[in-house]
Symmetry: C3
Subunit: 180 residues, 3 copies
């Protein structure tokens, strides 16, 4: 249940980064909502497709779809009134990355996959959405341009596997914040 | 059956946009055919993979593959003899977008998915192929750069869900044309 | 068994191209490993997902994952000591392309798919990883910029279907080398 809500927060955070990402151009609402939704739902979709789950998570539970859409619409209007977009972008991006990696690693472990697969899927879920966003916004992928960007995702995923029976998000978020 | 032929027309239209898209460079035939095929088959492939259908449509019925290949080869030779490539590009792109969105929304509804999922898949099928084409041709995705590009796809998909028992392509094409 | 080892060699070759690909920038180890792994595992992942196989190959047998990771780490350190990176890049890329196309076409034929599908999948497996690498490294996809790049993959895949009962890699590699 806690994982569910953490996942929803991650989706909202990534949707916002998607909208900010091309906020400079004069795009219409729906195009930006598409970008926000691809950013927030992309990583988990790739994970589910690779793991051959029966139904992709947002097809099974459309609340994810609506949260992504609502956050994007909200960000579309809110982005006009904020000054420091880049700061918010980086915070939301880090926050979404940390949450997605944690939640996905934990969920994949619960599905009975090995630690190797769980860590791999945690990293994929964390970074894939942002990579797609950067490609679509026509800028060099953040994950591959800045130093030590993907590394905290790996460390976080490994940590969760080690501390599997403790509540996982606290220690990981701490690690992430310090590495940032 | 009508849906089947409309889908084939959409594939031919998108294949042609794929070939025109990098027509300026001196590429060999097969590379352009690859680009045409990815453009025309990409959107539907992503849709089928996300919906976890048993067999992706062009693996089940290879006529789609051959239509995409033949249209690309045709466009490869025809493109040398036409003047207004950009006009044809935009018409074929709009035509393919409209057809794919309509056909996909209708098909997903028939598979028994909810209206939310059908509209989402309609939009994905309509825009994904063109996004991949623009990424591979190394230009900013059309769908995110021009105003009101993805919007008609959404409107069309919504309209089809509303008018589900009427023959769907007529009203949608009309809407699309006016929005264009 | 021979196919298995050829596949492993292809993965190592592509992982190296992924690392070299952005070797100019000052990236940290893990980001480069991600790029190497996406390049080497991407094509086969797309193939398995489209064919709806029960379990994607590197989820079933994690040795692929480890070979990709180890080759990327090795390349990360080795790349500092070599002069002619571009030469190695092109050799490894051609080598990986040839191996992947051969192995994938052969494997898909063995799974009972038609020759059309086997050739299509061979080409996808061969070129998709390199396309993703080029997109992520923010350069025009090699496969679509240079003449006659994807063509040898098609020829190779067709040849294997024709010579299905002979050991396939030899003739194909020869063709590829000559076309190069």
């Amino acid at each position: 249940m806690i994982l569910y809500w953490l996942g929803m927060f991650g989706i909202a955070a990534f949707a916002i980064t998607g909208v900010i990402s091309s906020g400079k151009r004069d795009m219409d609402l729906f195009s930006l909502v598409v970008l926000g939704m691809v950013t927030s739902l992309g990583g988990g979709t790739i994970r589910d497709v690779i793991l051959s789950v029966e139904t992709v998570y947002w097809v099974k539970d459309t609340s994810y779809l609506w949260v992504a859409a609502a956050s994007s619409v909200f960000a579309f209007f809110a982005v006009r009134f904020i000054e420091n977009r880049q700061t918010i972008f980086h915070y939301a991006d880090s926050f979404g990355l940390a949450l997605f990696t944690v939640v996905a690693t934990e969920n994949v472990l619960r599905l009975g996959f090995s630690a190797t697969i769980a860590v791999t899927m945690g990293v994929i879920t964390g970074i894939a959405g942002g990579i797609i966003r950067d490609l679509l916004s026509n800028r060099a992928p953040l994950v591959l341009g800045r130093e030590f960007y993907a590394t905290p995702a790996l460390l976080g995923a490994l940590f969760i596997v080690l501390l599997n029976d403790v509540f996982p998000s606290h220690p990981y978020n701490a690690i992430y914040a310090t590495t940032l």
